[in-house]
Each structure stands twice: as structure tokens, then as C-alpha cells.
Symmetry: C2
Subunit: 192 residues, 2 copies
Amino acid sequence: MNYPNNIKKDNYKINYGNRGMGLEQDLNDTNNYYLQNKTAVIHKKPTPITIVSVDYKSRKDAVIKEAYFKTPSTTDYNGIYKGKYIDFEAKETKNKQGFPLINIHNHQLEHLKMIIESGGIAFLIIRFTSFNETYLISAKKFLDYIKINKKKTIPIKFFKENGHILKEKYNPRLDYLGIIDKFYLEGENYER
Amino acid sequence: MNYPNNIKKDNYKINYGNRGMGLEQDLNDTNNYYLQNKTAVIHKKPTPITIVSVDYKSRKDAVIKEAYFKTPSTTDYNGIYKGKYIDFEAKETKNKQGFPLINIHNHQLEHLKMIIESGGIAFLIIRFTSFNETYLISAKKFLDYIKINKKKTIPIKFFKENGHILKEKYNPRLDYLGIIDKFYLEGENYER
């Protein structure tokens, strides 16, 4: 199977512990903060792989000797917040013009669509590493945009106009649930 | 790290495609049925692993050459049904007396507790392969039981008296959401 660049980059990052993982590390720290404070139970899913061979030296040490990365069929993050089902995908891009759609799989877009239809809270968190700007965009707005605009890259302008910028703080690192409170759970929930 | 036997067995099963995976295969079939019928969006999480080395022959073929199984920090299954967050763990045991607690990690029990506290629907699906009997048991009842009874194995009697037997059907294979409708979502939700 052919994977977009970012998949391998992400896996590369995952390979070597949790050092310098950028957005993923920020989100893990944030989710740990939410977990410890009993704000929300949101976890990143493990990287989907197909295991071909495993060496069982002993009961303690099973070593996977051959495995392959699978195309994810869902988003990376889900969980529960204020009794609501939360589901999102997080991506980084170095691109200066916008977000290249090759970074996200069709399966993941279909998944987000199904979550919206099921009454869940679905969104994307996208970081433009060139400007170090991170946006939360509702999955509905994102999907509506790509349905109409058949572009390979979503211009950064779209995120500036329709998304919510996520400022980095000390704790929680990226308080995306603050945005969810404001734009999904309070008032008219217009983003759903 | 030391893994209970079942973890390796489960991974063994996962290693070789989807053949003869028993309960896991039944649940995957059931979840696919729910997904296709837009009943619910529930997926099994990938097996958590730590990747140590990856061989990138070409852009297309990244081969994981060394990886290790990680102790799961959450349950294997979660998703959304009728707007509600669903979370459960599924286990098989050959044991004839009951369910050995070594089959489930403390992290997973803590996770189930947090899901209950967060207002999610949390349960376990346990199959006794010796009798080919599968039970759905509410996480609350399961956790309450092990809090009081400091046993290494939960007797099958407990599941017969407090759980709900899941009969295998053609489609959906194991209609566990039928039980959820009846005992969680209708009436007094007494299982929560």
C-alpha cells in the first residue's frame, strides 16, 4: 500500500519514544492533564499495524520481527467529555500555503462524517509548523469545504476564517476542550 | 514488562490476519454490521506496541523490524451509539471455573471506572470458550464485585447471575447493543 509522507513521518516520530513529537506530544500532555483532572477521558489510538512475525524468546519478551503500517480506518483520538463522544484527527504540515489533503485518508474523512451523523463532536486539529499556528476546525466545516472546493490543498485562509486558533499554554498545553465548550456545547452548537 | 498469557495469545491471533479469532472476530463482524447499517460507530483499537526499528526500503514499503507489545492503558473497543459514548473490553478464557483476573490489566479496570464516572456506557464481554458461553457484564457490577471479593478468579456463577448471555446469531453475530438498549438505555438504566 502507498502511504502519504506524513504517515511515515508520524510513525517515525512514534518509533523513538515521546521526544520532539510536536503536536502529538502536545496533545498527549493535554489529554494526560484532562485525565488527571478528571475533565475528560481522551486517548490517542495506537498506530495500526499488521504483525507478520513475532519471536517469543520467553514469556516476558515477545519481539515483533516483521510488521507493516496499516492505513488507519478511524481518526487518532477519541473519548468522552461531559458525557459526549469526542472524536478528532490531528495533523501537522510544513506547507506554507495550506493543508494538503493527501495528509488525511478518505477513511478518516468518512469516519468523521459518520461521527457527526451519530451525534458526536468531531473536529480536526491542524498545525502549520512553518508559522507554528495550530487551528481547531469543526469536521462539518472541513467536510463541507472539501465537498465544494475540489482542491488538493485547503488554503490557510480557510482555517483563519473558519477555525479557532489554539494558543499553547503551560497546562493544559493545548486547551482544545475550551474551544469545544465555547463553540459546541454552549449556545447554539452552531458548529455541529 | 511481564504480560499475562492471554495478551500474547491475543496478539498471536492478531498476527495472522482475521482467521479463527473467536470472540474478536465475532465482535469485528458485529461492529462492521453496525457500521454498515449506521447503527453505531464502534471500532477495536489497534494493539499497542512500541516500535524500535523500521526499515524504509522504499516510500511504499516501511517494514517494522523490531517492536514490542505494550500493556494497554485503555479497553480495546470504543465508539458512539445513539449519541452515547460506548466503551468495553472483550476477553476469552478457557477456564471452566470462571474468569481469571490476570486476563485484564489494572489500567483497563481504572479506565472503565473513569468511563462510568464520565457518564459513558462501560461493560465487558467475556466468553468462556470451554462452554462457548458469552456474557455481557456491566463494568459497574464487575468492578463492585472485585472490590468486595478479593479473588483471583471471578466464578462463572457471578456472570450467570449478573450478566446477560449473548447468543450468537447470523447477523449481527453478537448483538450486544440489543442488551445495551434493554438494560442501559431503556427504563431506569439500573446497570449504570
